[in-house]
Amino acid sequence: MRTSLAIAAGALALAGLAACSTEPTAGGAGASAAPAAPAKGGPVAVAATDTECKVAVTEVAAGTSTFAITNGGSKVTEFYVYAAGDRVMGEVENIVPGLTREVIVELPAGSYETACKPGMVGKGVRGPLKVTGEHKPLSDDAQLSAATAGYKRYIKSQSDTLLTKTQEFVDAVKAEDIGKAKELFPVSRTYWERIEPVAEIFGDLDPAIDARENDVAEGEEWTGFHKIEKDLWVTKDVSEDGPVADKLMADIKTVVEQSNAAELSPVLLANGAKGLLDEVASGKITGEEDRYSHTDLWDFDANLQGSKAAVQALRPVLEERAPELVKTLDEKFAGAEAALGAHRKGDGWKLHTELSKDDLKKLSDAINALAEPISKIAAVVAR
């Protein structure tokens, strides 16, 4: 689905806070990639396992802090620093067992939470983090640019992992390892679905990556995730899909470059948050998105998280301008997460075909309840 919002896709914006396994980038405007030697006293060590998230300290000084997360567990994990309402201040994805990754986070004084997410699902293992010292409140305009900067950080880290996971998926398809490809299909889509509203700005690529069979006009070639999905689950033969897989990877690379270069506005964030829930309402609850694999709830969860990331990036502005709305949003996000959480199965989700009509109605009600207040955000940030 293409968004009607026209935004300028400008030159590659300043590097935001991000993480990668070899070369962590520093946070803040104008910061450049640098070796991990930032905050006084060196990185804060985080020991992550499948059940624990031991952060070496629970208090840091205002400014930039580096966290070094070592995954001593058996599941792939993620690490987050959250402000109130789960606003993502910094995060690092896809920390595979045995690996250490670093993330640099810029934190004003206040109360935060750290979280490891073994298996990359759920609320994660949480702990408190206090930040003390000087903190200048941002002006209105500065708050808005901080919001878009924060969301760009999110896009960056998600799209980095999208590249990694899509590559793994593509490799499995080309190796004709159907079992592995099936496992990786919902995982790689998670990163796609979290950032889809930004990716969708580049309209010609969205259909190439994500079209369903009935979206394709007669005479046009059907490519992307869902073509491979059908071959994995229905025809059970991916021997002809090499070129489709290569094209998917190439398209994802282009979309990631474009997404990271896009100029974002607060209104785009607001509408992106709404757009993601529209995706849930129109494609996932109906089971149309992943009609062969029935892994729609993975996409549902990813859309919900992506929507929350965009909303929480705007949180400081909203708290100032519409505190009642923030309260409602918190409540309805919690409601939607709880409704979805009822269908967790192991580290993943139940299949769409395992849900009853009553289950789907409850999910639909929860999304409707959340989408209404979300639809009010754009006007608040635009004024």
Partner: protein, 417 residues
């Protein structure tokens, strides 16, 4: 038209076509010297919203219906009361031909979704009435309302032949939207549903395209999809004393918050019209006990002739059979019970078996459904020869509170305060 800010004025659209289309369908004639409550003078005019009783009960039945039942999804009583206040304010506007919210479909901030959905721009009030009711399930343990559940709102008993589908039956709240323009009725329900997101969720809804009852002597009796005049003996707004006795909840009737209200029974009655259409005329008339042309009781000449249940034909047999619909439904057969009916014909497309999915969405208001509707339906369900051609597939019972007095009042205030 009038000075009020109407949807038409806001939109700046030519009024002529709209007025011509709306007017003249039913000229409201004099009410025979009997007192008549305020009512719309033409099918495009508004019906007053505020009053002792809710509009949409004795209001001369409009041509179109959109009925909706909601489940309450919030667990907070205060949010429910707030919703009823917001609904009341939106209804007070929409029934007067205004948009659902103050900014309307095109007057708000460009970044915000409009506070009116817009499909009624350019349309007059069209006699829109919005009538709210509370279902028995609202009085469970969620909101502490159990002690305030009126005895009259006890669940309806199972009635012989019921083939009710739970997903299109019952509900915590209902809204009946009646208007002379279907777009206006749908617009009203859609906007109320939207206001309710997060607090209520649509359980089921029903469109009706043509009224099957008259609620005023000024109206001609319409026909149901079986081709018969329906509701000839209906309670009408001119029957003031009878309405007090049969329709409105009185001060001594139990739950005080219902005084001035009325109980609503809905039944979706699927008609097997294809088999009905193959029945001979004489059989059809026997089944109803009336003739098809005039609607006169068999043995009589005109629609409103007094029914002579003892009349015999030349063969010595009763003209109106023991199982004729008109006999079984008559007050004399049911302890004097009468109903104010304002049902609608519906066609929900077809059923995939080459048949229309069609019938009657039956709506009846009364003072005590257990003494009235249940009594009538019991005698019909057991014997009525019409049963061969109909099937009750949905059922609802709702307590419709008294009218909203003024802008400071809201639907159900006495229940929630």
């Amino acid at each position: 038209m009038s000075e009020r800010i109407s949807r038409r004025k806001l939109f700046g659209m030519g009024a002529a076509g709209v007025a011509a289309a709306g007017a003249g369908a039913i000229a409201v004639r004099g009410a025979g010297g009997e007192p008549a409550p305020a009512q719309a003078a033409s099918t495009s005019d508004p019906v007053p919203f505020y009053g002792e009783h809710q509009a949409g009960i004795v209001t001369p039945a409009q041509d179109r219906l959109h009925f909706v039942s909601f489940d309450v999804t919030t667990e907070k009583k205060a949010e429910l009361a707030e919703l009823l206040q917001e609904w009341t304010a939106a209804a007070a506007r929409m029934t007067q031909g205004q948009e659902a919210g103050a900014f309307g479909a095109v007057g708000g901030q460009p970044e915000a979704p409009p506070d009116d959905t817009g499909e009624a721009l350019g349309l007059p009030a069209s006699g829109l009435t919005l009538t709210v009711g509370f279902g028995g399930s609202l009085f469970d343990d969620r909101f502490g309302l159990a002690p305030r559940r009126p005895a009259a709102l006890a669940d309806l008993p199972h009635l012989p032949g019921d083939a009710l589908l739970p997903e299109i039956s019952g509900g915590d709240l209902c809204v009946q939207a009646c208007a002379h323009d279907p777009q206006v009725a749908v617009h009203a329900i859609r906007n109320l549903a939207r206001i309710g997101f997060g607090r209520v969720s649509v359980r089921w809804s029903q469109l009706g395209f043509g009224r099957t009852s008259s609620t005023s002597r000024a109206q001609a009796t319409p026909r149901n999809l079986m081709g018969f005049k329906d509701g000839t003996a209906n309670l009408k707004l001119e029957d003031v004393a009878l309405l007090r006795e049969q329709l409105w909840v009185g001060p001594g009737d139990g739950a005080g918050w219902m005084t001035g209200g009325s109980y609503l029974v809905t039944r979706k009655i699927r008609m097997l019209v294809e088999t009905w259409d193959r029945a001979p005329l004489a059989e059809q008339e026997q089944i109803f006990g009336r003739n098809k042309g005039e609607g006169a009781p068999l043995g009589g000449k005109a629609e409103f002739d007094v029914i002579d249940f003892d009349a015999k034909g030349p063969d010595g047999e009763a003209l109106i059979k023991d199982d004729a619909h008109v006999r079984l439904a008559h007050p004399s057969h049911n302890g004097g019970a009468r109903l104010l009916r304002r049902g609608y014909n519906y066609v929900d497309g077809s059923d995939g078996l080459g048949r229309l999915d069609a019938g009657l969405f039956f709506i009846a208001y009364q003072r005590d459904p257990h003494r009235q509707f249940v009594a009538v339906q019991k005698s019909l369900a057991g014997k009525d020869s019409l049963n061969e051609y109909i099937k009750h597939v949905s059922s609802g019972l709702f307590a419709c509170p008294p009218g909203v007095r003024d802008a400071g009042d809201y639907w159900g205030r006495a229940l929630f305060s």
